[in-house]
């Protein structure tokens, strides 16, 4: 599980772990908690191009549907097959085994720090 204070965040309640030119992406515990039990996750195809701010996937709970946005412009390098098979990982380990996709990028947009994101969700 990643150190939450080291991660970057979006206002759409996603976290981003930057490693060189790749970004590992998931949704925050706050978002997972608000969704309730996640029962279905749809992720983009590996190799597809994604544009920052566009919808690339869906996260469904029994009660609601959340859209997954690409946090960067780039190419999908890998998606988490485990979370597709076991969507409850989004609830049980949102910052770890519940990661969603890995994207390569050339330029990192401005993202929120841990303290900025914490202020956003009032925690």
């Amino acid at each position: 599980m990643a150190d939450k204070t080291e991660l970057l965040y979006t206002a759409e309640h996603e976290w981003v772990l930057v490693d060189g030119d790749t970004a590992l992406v998931g949704i925050t515990a706050y978002a997972a908690d608000k969704l309730g039990d996640v029962v279905f996750v749809e992720l983009p195809a590996v190799g597809s191009s994604v544009a920052a701010g566009t919808v690339v996937g869906e996260i469904e709970s029994t009660k609601s549907v959340g859209e997954l946005f690409a946090p960067v412009n780039g190419t999908v390098l890998e998606t988490n097959d485990s979370v597709v098979a076991s969507p409850e990982l989004v609830n049980s380990d949102p910052f770890g085994a519940g990661w969603l996709l890995k994207v390569t990028f050339t330029e990192l947009p401005t993202l929120l720090s841990y303290s900025e994101y914490s202020a956003l969700v009032g925690e």
């Binding site: 309730g36 029962v39 279905f40 609601s64 549907v65 859209e67 946005f69």
Partner: protein, 401 residues
Amino acid sequence: MTPDTAAHPSSDSLPNAVTSNAAPSNAAPATDERFSPLHQAHVDAGASFTDFAGWQMPVRYSSDLAEHHAVRTSAGIFDLSHMAEITVSGPDAGAFLDYALAGKLSTIDLLQAKYSLILNPAGGIIDDIVVYRTNEKDYLVVANAGNRVQAVQALSARAVRFDVEVTDQSDDVALIAVQGPASRAILEATAGLTVDGELSELKYYRALGGTFRGGDVLIARTGYTGEDGFELYIDVPAAAALWDALCAAGEPFDLVPAGLASRDTLRLEAGMPLYGHELSLSTYPAQAGLGRVVNLAKETDFIGRSASEEGPSADARVLVGLAAAGKRAGRADYLVFRSSDAPVAEGVITSGALSPTLGHPIAMAYVAPSLARQGTEVFVDVRGTRIPATVTQLPFYKRQK
């Protein structure tokens, strides 16, 4: 990640959006926020809250799926104190209810419960209610929280030419439901709860009087989950102690506190309508499959009678169940089509979810009569993709007795 607002037209931000399926469309603004007499118990149990008709009620405690499964396999305890309790008392109580409601209430037995409807003169549904006969000349009408004012106003206005008193007791009465196969054993093990009779002999939609630590309690074998279960009406000051006593007695039976999220999926599996979703002012009971609730054999007139006799037009949409394969659920307001490329929708989903018990998507929808036959294949537009679904008999889930 942000919620799909198209799926939740009543929502505007993430915390509310995720629970909009549980909230009626006529929910009061959050500025009138109200709290259950059991609120502290929910906070202590770690509940997440949602606005329901102006009340801050538990939406889940930890996992809505676990709460759902607990009710199907052991038991869950629900706080329903937001619901409206209206008493009708006086020499004309029975005759008044026969006039004010769609059903015949004057002839129900003492301590019998009956599901009924408050219709408007046009035959539309003001609210769906449960009526208990608590004494020869006393009835208790239990209305939806979101329709409290409308129900009280309708009943009061209709009472003028009857010798009857209509009183809104909602602020003084708390309601706790214990639902699930272990619910009877839990009530029997609850310290301080005495029942005027045997719970083992209490039939469905019948009630018994009782006491909890000296105060009155009404115990009904009713519910909204499709499981065996009980609903307990008690004065507000004693409610928290009863909740605690039920929870303590339930511990060996794996009783869990359950929120509105699981209540919604449980009632959907059981094919039970929710006002604001399946029922509305512009819905005739016959469209909703509730024609039997409107007693046209009643000798006396009642509000909505002539419109009900006429009935909806032949092409009026009817409520059906839909079942689909896969995991992507059609949700409230998603459109239903005759084919994968039909340009015009011929139906709309009113409630839908991935069924926790069955493991596949289920929904209730109003569709054109030509699509209503069981086995008909239709298509649901799930955010731009048409997913096949099959018209299925309601309920989706029926417990084994």
